[in-house]
Amino acid sequence: MAEATPSHPGESLRDAGRSRRPPSAATAPPILAAHEVHRTYRFGQIEVPVLRGASIAIGRGEWVAILGQSGSGKSTLMHLLGGLDRPDAGRGTIEFDGRAVNLGAGRSLDRYRNRDVGFVFQFYHLLPELSVLENACLPGLVGGWFGHARAAAARRRAGELLEQAGLSHRLRHRPAELSGGERQRVAIARALVNGPRVLLADEPTGNLDATTGASILDLIAAQHAEGLTVAMVTHDSSVAARAQRVVHLRDGQVVDG
C-alpha cells in the first residue's frame, strides 16, 4: 500500500489523515480545488461554453454540496475534479492536496483516479459481468500488475465496506439482481475501496426514492464522520441540506450561498 513516489509525497500520510478529525475548513488549505476552469463543448462551428471560469475549493474533511439546475454543468465540473475529463487547454487547473493534477493523461492521471479520489455516478456504472464483491474490489485490482497481496487487501476492504452498507449477503450476486439503492451502495464501496481522501458523488440519490436516498446519504455521512472529504452534486435542496456547505453553479461559475 505505501508506495511513496516523488509525485505524491503526501501519500504515506493518507491513512493517518483519514483517521484524524478534520481541521476547520476555514484555516486549512483545501484538499481539492478547481481554479478558473473553462469547459466548452463544440458542435462543429458552434461552441457551447458550459463552465466559464468556475472555481471551487473543498477543505479537508469538508462535505460540500453543489447545487444547480439541470444542464448547468454540475456533472462537467465533477468530471474535471475527478480527473475523468480535462478543462479547455490552458484554461484552468485542478489542484489536489496543494499540487496541480497533471491533466496530460498518462499514468499519473490514472493513478489519481485510482487512489486519490473515488467517484460515484448517478447511474451506478457497475460492470454487469462481475459480482458485487468483484465490482467493489475493482479499483484495488486495477492499480498494478503484480498485486496478489493488494488484491487480497482490496477484497478484505471491499468486504468490510459492503458489510457496512448492509450487503454482505449479496456478495456473489450480479449487479442486475440488485435494486437501485443496493447498486449505489456497491458503487460507494467501490469508490472507497482504495481509501481515497475525497469522495466525488454526482447525484448519488438522483435515481432513488426519498427513503433509499436517505440511507445512501447516511452511508456517506458515516464515512464523512470518519474524516472523508465529500463533494456531492444534487439539484435537490433537501439532499443538499445534509452537507456542511452548499455552493451553486450558475452561468458556468460557482457561487456561494
Binding site: H79, R86, R113, H125, E129, L130, L138, L141, V142, H148
Partner: protein, 547 residues
Amino acid sequence: MYAALLSNRYLTSRVIPLIAVGAVALCVALVIIVVSVMSGFLDMLKASGRTLIGDVIVSSGIGGIPHYDEWLADLRALPEVEEATPVIDTLGLLRMPYPSGPSKEIAPVQVWAIEPASFARVTAYGEKVWWRPPADDAAREAMLPDDPRLRMDGSILRDGLTLTQGATGKPGIVMGMHVSVGNARQSDGSYRPRFGWFMPGEEVTLTVVPVSESGTISEPRDATFPIVNEVFSGVYDVDKSRVFIPLAQAQQLLRLDAAPLYDTTAEPDAEGNLPLLGTTPARVTKVLIRAKPGVDALAARDAVEASWDAFVAKAARRSDRLGRPPERVSILTWEQQLRDLIGPVEKEREMMRILFSIIYIVCAGLILSIFWSIVIEKTRDIGILRSVGASRLGILWIFLRYGLAIGVVGSLAGVGIAWVVVDNINLIHEAIGRDAPRAAWITTCALSVLSVVMALRSLVWRGRLLPGLLWTIATVTLGIITLALLGHRGTLIWDPSVYYFSRIPSQVDWFNAAITVGGGIVFSVIGAAIPAAKAADVDPVEALRYG
C-alpha cells in the same frame, strides 16, 4: 490481474465469443483442408513421376553411350549406387490391333528399351505392371466381380516382368495403360476392356527410325511384338505414350548394336569386301540409377557425375576411336528431370495459396468485425474501468487476452476439424457418391417436424419471438436438407475414371497447418487489438456516455 478476471468473464458470459471461435475455427479448417489436399496431390504426382525413372537419370544424344557395360560396372561399384540400368529412349509409331478391318489405328509412342531385370531394380516397374492375378484373398475381395484380373494366373505377370511371351519365347512389348484406347478406367480406378479390346495377347507393329551419330536418318524399320502386359505409372503423360520393349531388339532396330565397321572410302578387295576398321560397340541413350537407401538424390548425382568424368578420361586413353563417349551427357536427379511435369502443379499450388490469402483476408475481416462489435458493446465498461484508474494499456491487455484466447481455441478447433475431414476425406467422398441412406432423410424430416412443433410452441403458446424465429429457420433448413437428401443421386465429385489419381490425398500438411494456426491467432489478436485500442483512446467520460 483485473485483465485476466475480465477477459475470462467476457469469454464465458456471452454467446458472441462462441461465434468468434466458430468463425476462426471454420476459416482455419478451410485453409488447412484445401492446402493439404493440394500438397497431397503434388506429393502423389512427384512420387508417381519418380516411380519409372529412379533417382538419377543420365541422358546422351542420339549417338548414345558406347561401352556402357563398363560404365555400368563402374557405377554399380560406387558406394552411393544401389543399381544402374541401361535404356534406349526413342520415338516410334505403333500400329494398334484395332479397329477390326484392314486399316488400323496408329499411335505415336515414346519407346523405352530396357533390360527388365535391372530396370525393375532401379524403378518401381515391377509394381506398376498392371495385369496380374490378385496377390491375396484381401486383394481378391477388394476387386469388383467383373475385374479381368480375377481370372488371371501368374504367367501374364511373369511375361510383363521379363518382356517375353512365355508361350512362344518371343520378345514382347508392355504398353502404358492409356496407349490403347481399349482400357476404360472405372470409378474405383481399375480398368475394363472397352469394345472387347483387351490388349495382352494381341500383336502390335512398332516402327522406329534409326538415326546415325551424324544425324542422318536411315530407312524406318519395324518389328512386330506381342503385347505381354500393360503398365500403370500414375502419371497420365507417361501412361498415354510410353511403351517398353527389350533392349536387344531396340539396339538391332535402331542400329545401336555392336557391328563391324568397314572403311567405305577404300577399294573393295578381290571378293568385293571393304577393309574392316573395327567393331562399333553397342550403345544406349540413357542410364537410370537408383541411389542406396539413405543417399540423397543430389549426392548420388554428384557421384555419378564424377564417375562419368573418370569414364570419359579412361575412354580417351583407349586406342579405338569408335568407342569414344559423347562430349556431353545430361545428369539430372529425378526432381530436375521431372521439372516440366511438377512445375505447373507447383505453380498451381502457389496460385491456390494466393487465392487463399484472399480467404485469409476475408477471415481477418470477419474476426475484426466480430471483435469490433464485442468491444463497442463494452465501451461503457471501458469507461468505468478508466474511471477507476485502469490505464489504456490495461484496457488493451484485456482485449488482447480475449483475442488470444479466442484465436488459440478457435485455431486449435479448426485444426481438429481439418484433421477429421482430411483424414476421412475419401469416406466422405464415397458417402457423397452414394444415394443418401433412407435413415438420413427420415431423421432430418423428423427433426424438421419437431422444430415446427417447437416453433409453434414458442410463437403461439409462449409468445416468444426469438426462439420462434430460430426454430422456424431450423425447420426450413432441415426441410431443405431433407429434400436435398431425397433428391441426391450419388454423384462422384472426384471421379477416378476422369481424374487420374484414384484416391484423394488424406494427409494433413502439418507444416502448413502450423502456419495457418499461427495466422489465425495473430489475426484474432490484431482483430481484437484494433477496436480495443480505439476504445481505450476514448476519454472516460465519453465512454461512459455510451449506452
